[in-house]
Symmetry: C3
Subunit: 345 residues, 3 copies
């Protein structure tokens, strides 16, 4: 990690500096654990009480709070400022090292000279890779793939034939781009494999988690738009389209041909069935499952999906069902008795 003055950091985050501009900071660290030389951050007023015993040399705070005698960076979004300072202190990305010994690159591949290909990485025929992109050991790029600039492909990431990655795409270890979609035509007794001849397109700033799979289209494209982030072990079926800045948490699955809008959030282990439309700004809670279209601007949970608050109410009431059954039987009995009594009259 680098070291920086508080003044430099104020410039990095566009924040207001209060205190010593020449203070040296070498680490961002949580408020409970920060030491001298660290900057820490308070993202919620409930943590403000921890400030008193905090040993950090500086603190990132939201406007409207003060901490007299402290070195402060006042930022509209302290969490974002924390992230930006963390990035800055990591220093610039390492310079490209070229094709290292032990890497295998096809003669027909065109790699910018600032690309780094580590030992054990393999690049196929007619691949194009832009400036600053890094391929870690064990990365495999099949033929005819196009990769943009400043992408980071971690070990074991695989990109199959013809797929396209734009700029600043990150593949975590063993992310699988362009495996065959799951398509078979029943022939009466067995399943006949439908060749999956489409591709996957990942736009700028997309990140795909470890062991997540984005299947190639049967025809055409599976397409993930700018800024969308997939966590680990996520399954994206063939011909799916996902809009910009959407978040898919770990172990979720989107089935084939479904279209997802922008600024959506899918909780962990959630799912969307195939051939559906999900609008923009939709949040599906953890383990939620969409079995029909979902309109924009909703927070929904459960199977079938309900407005989140209604779902919460429902899940809280379900454990009462056994007792409700008993009560219902008792009511029936009492009512029958009453009916008998009335009829006797």
């Amino acid at each position: 990690m680098l070291s920086a003055t508080l003044k430099q950091l104020a410039e990095v985050v566009g924040g207001e500096l209060r205190g010593d501009p020449e203070l040296q900071i070498s680490r961002v660290f949580p408020i409970d654990l920060a030491q001298e030389g660290d900057i820490t951050f308070i993202t919620h007023p409930k943590y403000f009480s921890k400030l008193e015993s905090c040993r950090a040399s500086a603190v990132i705070l939201a406007p409207g709070i003060d901490a007299p005698g402290r070195n402060l960076l006042i930022c509209a979004n302290p969490y974002l400022a924390f992230a930006k300072i963390l990035t800055f202190l990591q220093g610039p990305a390492p310079t490209g090292k070229g094709i290292l010994t032990g890497a295998w690159v096809a003669d027909s591949a065109v790699l910018d000279e600032t690309v780094t290909v580590h030992p054990g990485a393999v690049v196929g025929e007619n691949v194009t890779i832009g400036p600053g992109t890094v391929l870690h050991p064990g990365v495999v790029i099949y033929a005819d793939v196009i990769i943009g600039r400043n992408c980071l492909l971690h070990a074991g990431a695989i990109v199959r034939e013809g797929c396209r990655l734009a700029d600043r795409v990150i593949l975590q270890p063993s992310a699988i781009i362009g495996a065959d979609g799951f398509g078979f035509a029943p022939d009466g007794s067995s399943y006949y494999k439908i060749p999956q001849v489409g591709i996957v397109v990942l736009e700028d700033d997309v990140e795909i988690g470890a062991c997540s799979c984005v299947d190639r289209a049967v025809l055409g494209e599976t397409h993930i738009r700018r800024g969308t982030k997939l966590d680990n072990l996520v399954q994206i079926g063939h011909n799916v389209e996902i809009g910009e800045d959407t978040i898919v948490v770990a172990q979720s699955g989107i089935a084939g041909s479904t279209k997802i809008g922008r600024h959506c959030t899918f909780g962990g282990q959630s799912a969307v069935a195939g051939h559906l439309n999900v609008g923009d700004n939709v949040t599906i809670g953890a383990r939620g499952g969409a079995s029909s279209n979902v309109a924009s601007d909703q927070v929904v949970s459960g199977v079938p999906l309900l407005p989140h608050k209604q779902w919460l109410k429902m899940t809280m009431s379900l454990p009462k069902v056994p007792e409700m059954r008993k009560e219902l039987q008792q009511l029936k009995k009492r009512l029958a008795e009453l009916e008998a009594l009335i009829q006797e009259d």
Copy 2:
């Protein structure tokens, strides 16, 4: 892709040709997007209305429909015909290239000369591989594995010691065959690892999805029979047996020692507990979970499994439970009032 005459394609699919037998076709494409030179397909009457504006040069149709003035292939199963034409237009599989530079093959391994081993693939001691099989970069075959003919192992697929793959088996990227089953003997405080000394057998035409795991048996075999297809991120526990032509959709899990029949379908994120029997022709809906045996010839969903229609009815009624609780309380109150009134008399 190749090009073919409509007459050739009619022979490929065994369909009836109506129109110009010499028409050149170079692509299959969906009805909305097809251009001149393409053949398209209609798999459901509801899409028939799209035919009028379709620009494709030829159309695959089911018998009983006509489209005067169009070049047609009349096929009993248009979806299957589409798949077969797509396969045909891809051309024959590439010729075997042998062991390429950058691949590591043990001296004791016996590979047919038509095998292709790409750079970065590793083949262990005493492995046998049949004609036409392709190992992409990063494939690892442990010792004593036997692989048949015309198998396709994508990058990062791993087959551990002693496992057997028959003919035409496809492993998608990072499919893991023969990892240790999850077996531990509690010794009172910790867990003692039970060596998993069995193997995995994959019969002809089995396909395993990306990042799917088929664990080796503790003793004996984990066995997947002919034609069964696993989607991505599927977990198959040790000593599981799966019958022929069964479909397991993404992110499903079958726990150890369970036996599954033939022609079953498991929806996405479904599960079967361990040591169970599931019959033939069973369909378990997405997210369904079997916690006891399942008899043949059923369509079931939910946890516990219910007949699918009953499950649908149930899931639709559960959101009413909070309201039912209120109604129940009101009924109790009204009944108590009535009882009091009667007793007063």
Copy 3:
């Protein structure tokens, strides 16, 4: 596999020998399939009836049962004895082979001479690896990783920068240690990536399943303590802590910053939300989901978690809800009629 006398095996398991001490045993096998020369085991009295037709030469039994005329090993824990004999008959671990041709090890890495690095494995700068550890083909160790003694890293396992593995850690194929945690700061429109600069620590005897992912901490450590075992396709979020001897079955997910105690068991496809505490000796049933803290010493299931027996009762009663709705309507109608009747009087 080795061969051993019954006397040797009695010493291995600390059991009481009845019968021929010089009997040669070369295999452990299940009671239904065992042949002459095999030892088998009975772990539950319900299998005792199978003993009569069993062809095994010797049997592992719990105390208090006898089988006259049979060669027996009487052991307090027959299942543990089975596991120990299976281990013994496998023979000792193979001797270290050093860095094999086709492996890539950075000059600055320090590997004990008894380490084995297979072809296609890559070891980065400043890595330290202890005696007896084996790296299979395709394993990738990033810079600054520390690995202890007698670890076993299967093909495709990846350990990212700075992570630490203690002794006897097992990584199944494509286990991913230290991928970036899923952390992004919303900047109002897009997501800004928060660098994940922490590490993962795996203590002694931890085992991580195939394609399971343990994410690195954003700051500090993701930490899994001694003896804990993860099955395949498990997701462990950043900054999670898991105590000793905990079991996590396949396809489960633990979200970020959650703390799990010791001796817990998580059933298949279960989940724990982020920033929670789960105590010691907690069992969460398959598909269970914790959305709030869980106190120690409980067996719980469902979403929200309920005591397991209550959950079972609930799930059995839910299919009755559609019928309950009808009954409720009928009761309302009958009650209204009765009320009308009374009022008429």
